[in-house]
Amino acid sequence: MLLRIRDDLQNILRILRGLKRVSACPKRVDIPCVFCLECERSKYDEIVYEDGLLKITANSVLLNLKLDVGEAELDKALLLELAKAFSSRLSFVMEKPEEGYQFSFFFFHTDKDAIPLFERFIDDVLPQIGGILTQGRINVRNWARSVVQKFFS
């Protein structure tokens, strides 16, 4: 039985707090191992969740979140816009999530300040995502109706 990301949040936060700079990188630059994986120093590991995937390396982490939104194209588009909007304010939210996921969170060892914001996102936004999407759908429907109303007025 797989855990959900929210249920394992404390473990994820512990991993994020434990990220460290990789010394003696063969490329001799401080780049995120999670995108490189060129050597064994990356210490790559994964945790599969019911609603996502956590990719762990020594200096960086990538958390992919899968939301159950069904097959509606509008919901998918709304989620994409939501991810874009969050990424403009939160540096750890990736503008384009990894394929098959709705949100991708990237943490480098220098991003320790972002951990409380991430915790807030998981605690506050995630449980309300259904309501947020409904609000978005209502707004789009109202916009469409207003266009039609303007046409007939």
């Binding site: 063969p26 060129e38 050597c39 599969v48």
Partner: protein
């Protein structure tokens, strides 16, 4: 006389070295050993594949997602081709990684699914140099013909050598 004040940096074995080792062993154990194989096959790290696919990208059916295809082309570490005109035809895609983990295997499986659609009959092999591999079942990855995992290069090479000699180069 030994030079003072000069420390020798420990050379790290990277994925790049792993890929180069695979190419050189395929050349030395197959292509250079048997002339008939050398005449019919060639091996590289993906340069010829890009050259072969780029011109046909615009003529492919719309079933192929161009973005996914570009990503898939970049994934195999080593490719064995059958020499043909005007372009060589890939016969085996080898994915080389340092980790034997589910997400990486899934990516390789998806890439080989696309590549096998483009080149039917081609084989796909996943080779990992991992000391602590994850317990993964082969049947989850139907597009990968063999999953090889070992703690050292030689251990991986023995298994891959057997696969290549029994499948890819068996007809010669």
């Amino acid at each position: 006389m030994a030079r003072k004040g000069r420390r020798r940096r420990k050379v790290e074995y990277t994925k790049n070295d792993f890929e180069k080792d695979l190419v050189s062993r395929i050349k030395s154990d197959f292509l250079k050993k048997f002339q008939v194989l050398d005449e019919r096959y060639t091996v590289d790290r993906g340069r010829l594949l890009k050259a072969a696919i780029e011109p046909i990208l615009d003529t492919l059916s719309l079933d192929f997602d161009r973005r996914e295809l570009r990503r898939a082309i970049a994934m195999p570490a080593v490719i064995i081709y059958r020499k043909m005109q005007p372009h060589p035809r890939p016969v085996c895609f080898i994915f080389a990684e340092f980790h034997f983990k589910k997400a990486l295997l899934t990516n390789a499986n998806n890439a080989s699914c696309l590549l096998k659609k483009l080149f039917p009959g081609a084989y796909a092999a996943y080779v990992a140099l991992d000391r602590n591999p994850e317990g993964i079942r082969k049947k989850e990855f139907k597009n990968l013909d063999i999953l090889v995992c070992g703690s050292g290069f030689e251990e991986c090479w023995i298994k891959l050598h057997e696969f290549l000699s029994q499948n890819v180069f068996s007809s010669e």
